[in-house]
């Protein structure tokens, strides 16, 4: 098996350097803080914060399904928006062809959006 190494799309090396710095900064800050700060935990301090009253139950109960619906609609429409970027970059070359293509694409999705609206999926009750 042969391996050829070309440059990757130019200009990502500075990002990796910056990433290394951006990761090491909070590490250094938190470790430095660990060396100089006091540490005196007590039973009361370590309780879950509930306005001074003892926690009545575990926090991880079940929550409303609305959050789930929002997330699933987000996934669906996010896939749609990612298609818009190559389209926008290529727009001048495509001309009227590009308009009609995306009008069909978005038209079908707008039908879905209106249906979801009518079904009440976008209500937050």
């Amino acid at each position: 098996m042969r391996v050829i190494v070309n440059d990757m799309p130019n200009g990502y090396i500075p990002i990796f350097i910056f990433l290394a710095l951006a990761i090491s900064f909070p590490v250094v800050a938190i470790v430095a803080a660990k060396l100089i700060r006091p540490s005196a935990p007590s039973l009361t301090k370590l309780e879950a914060y509930e306005c001074g009253i003892k926690a009545a139950s575990d926090s991880r109960g079940r929550y409303t399904v609305r959050f789930y619906i929002v997330a699933i609609l987000f996934v669906i429409f996010d896939v749609e928006t990612i298609f818009l970027f190559p389209w926008a970059v290529r727009y001048r070359a495509l001309g009227w062809f590009g308009v009609s293509e995306i009008a069909v694409f978005l038209g079908i999705l707008i039908v879905g959006y209106i249906w979801a609206y009518k079904k009440g999926a976008l209500e937050w009750v």
Binding site: M1, R2, V3, I4, V5, N6, D7, M8, P9, Y12, I13, F16, R60, G61, R62, Y63, T64, V65, F67, Y68, I69, A71, I72, L73, F74, V75, I76, D78, V79, E80, I82, F83, F85, P86, W87, V89, R90, A93, L94, F97, G98, E101, V104, F105, L106, I108, L109, V111, G112, Y113, W115, A116, K119, G120, A121, E123
Partner: protein, 165 residues
């Protein structure tokens, strides 16, 4: 430099992938899966597909995994209960896995004996090139994608309708 980055992120991807299976708590598995998606994006980048890399992060790491995390948070899915394993699984599991990997590697090597791994050799990964391909050659699949997304909307809302009413 690229080879070092490739090795680093390939190792991260594999370790995270193993971690997805090994972890007993669903949220740890989901976080490991985010790690896999992120490292895969960087591997795409090293191969020269920059737009695909960004799309991988936005759609998989940023959207699909948010849904996973939400479901785990909402359902309060707890730690997986480990059942006792049968003797055969304990004894034969790992050797069989290694054997399977060996067979797979052997056949891949046989199928592509003179294959070349070409870092950065792919030049069609820019947004412009993808736009050109998507809106001329692959126009029909692109438009059908929108119907696929529409079906996904219908499915999601039908599934959730009982809760909505």
């Amino acid at each position: 430099m690229d080879v070092i980055l490739f090795l680093v992120f390939a190792i991260i991807a594999v370790v995270c992938a193993i971690n997805v299976v090994v972890q007993s708590h669903p949220i740890s598995s989901a976080v490991s899966l985010i790690g896999v998606m992120g490292s895969l994006a960087i591997l795409y980048l090293l191969l020269g597909a920059e737009f695909i890399a960004a799309a991988q992060v936005i759609v998989y790491a940023g959207a699909v995994m948010v849904l996973f995390i939400f479901v785990i948070m909402l359902l309060n899915a707890g730690t997986e209960v480990r059942k006792g394993r049968s003797l055969m699984v304990q004894v034969l599991g790992v050797p069989l896995l290694i054997a399977l990997l060996g067979v797979l590697a052997f056949f891949v090597q046989r199928l592509y004996p003179r294959s070349t791994v070409h870092f950065g050799g792919f030049r069609g990964g820019s947004a412009l090139a993808i736009g050109r391909a998507l809106f001329t050659t692959y126009l029909l699949p692109f438009e059908i994608t929108s119907i696929l997304i529409l079906i996904a909307i219908l499915g999601a809302i039908v599934l959730a309708r009982k809760e909505l009413e």
